[in-house]
């Protein structure tokens, strides 16, 4: 149940075809949302952390390209 000023239609909108695929990744112990650009590469969309210093870290700036080692299982 929602308690929000948003109009229902906006958040129930299922039209998501233009949205890029994003995933969450643990990178150096910092959780971040990345836009997947390749099987092992992505671009940082946002950092999810309560430590304000993580946002000052230039390596974690949104738009930064990162490579990772995908694991399956």
């Amino acid at each position: 149940m929602h308690y929000s000023i948003f109009v229902d239609g906006l958040w129930l909108d299922e039209d998501t075809e233009e949205m890029a695929e994003t995933m969450e990744l643990d990178y150096n112990g910092v959780t971040m949302e990345i836009k997947v650009t390749d099987i092992n590469a992505g671009e940082i969309v946002r950092v999810i952390s309560s430590n304000p210093n993580d946002y000052l870290n230039t390596q974690y700036q949104p738009g930064t390209k990162i490579e990772f080692h995908p694991t399956f299982g």
């Binding site: 149940m1 308690y3 990744l25 990178y27 309560s50 990162i66 490579e67």
Partner: protein, 299 residues
Amino acid sequence: MGKIITNQGMPQPKIPDGMPKINPNLPQKSPNKAGKVKNQMQALKQFGQNNMPPKVKSDIHTLTIVGQIEGHAVLSPKNKTTKYEHLIPQLVAIEQAKEIKGLLVILNTVGGDIEAGLAISEMLSSMSKPVVSLVLGGGHSIGVPIAAAADYSFIAETATMIVHPIRLTGMVIGVPQTYDYLDKMQERIIRFVASHSTIGQERFKELMFETGELVRDVGTVLVGDQAVKEGIINEVGGLGHAMQKLRTLINEQFPQEEQEDDCECSSEEIAEGNCGCYSSQAEFQPRQSVIEALEGDDD
């Protein structure tokens, strides 16, 4: 000369024309630095990890609650959301970490899931560390109890809070019990806000059911100091005020002697004024152990 010996007889990959060619005879500008960069690149390629930058200590952590508060239902990716599966473990970690002394909650939210919002509110209000909230832009709907849950709350002069009745979403059964259920859900919010701020339950309900304020809804828009006048928020202020208040609350809860002292000077250096850890004499406050050591020397 010039013959390339390849491993296991594999053909050497051809370097495309556009690629820069590396001359091995050129002296490297900084071999250590270059090596470090190479190691970093290898680490990045192999494990998706990089060397950590020097850690800056921060005893204040921040939660930014922005967009919709996402709870049990996953919202469409078009929405900007703050997810409860991120916030709840973060709050537990903040409560547990010794080096974190206080929490600043910044709200710019349109509301969202009731269960998630109330969970966050309850966690904030029951935290043992000082919590200060700051409403910037908007702190609507379920953002109201979250803002009120802090030990002390601020609202920016231009920020607004909309208090309105909750709406039923999804499948609605047209039976009288539906209204009772809705009322019960609403009651949880009203009770929480009333018990964590100075506004009374009756007044909050009045604001909730106000007509003539909102164009498409029943409710009230509270701008900056109106939220303070109603008693939902403690004070009008910005980031500086919120930080200052949080520092004050931290100092009250963790008195000076318990705070970490990074000064590694010996007691002699401090006594002779050769310690550079304190920028001025006014800031110089010898620790109890130092005072005792100096007194011990006199005997």
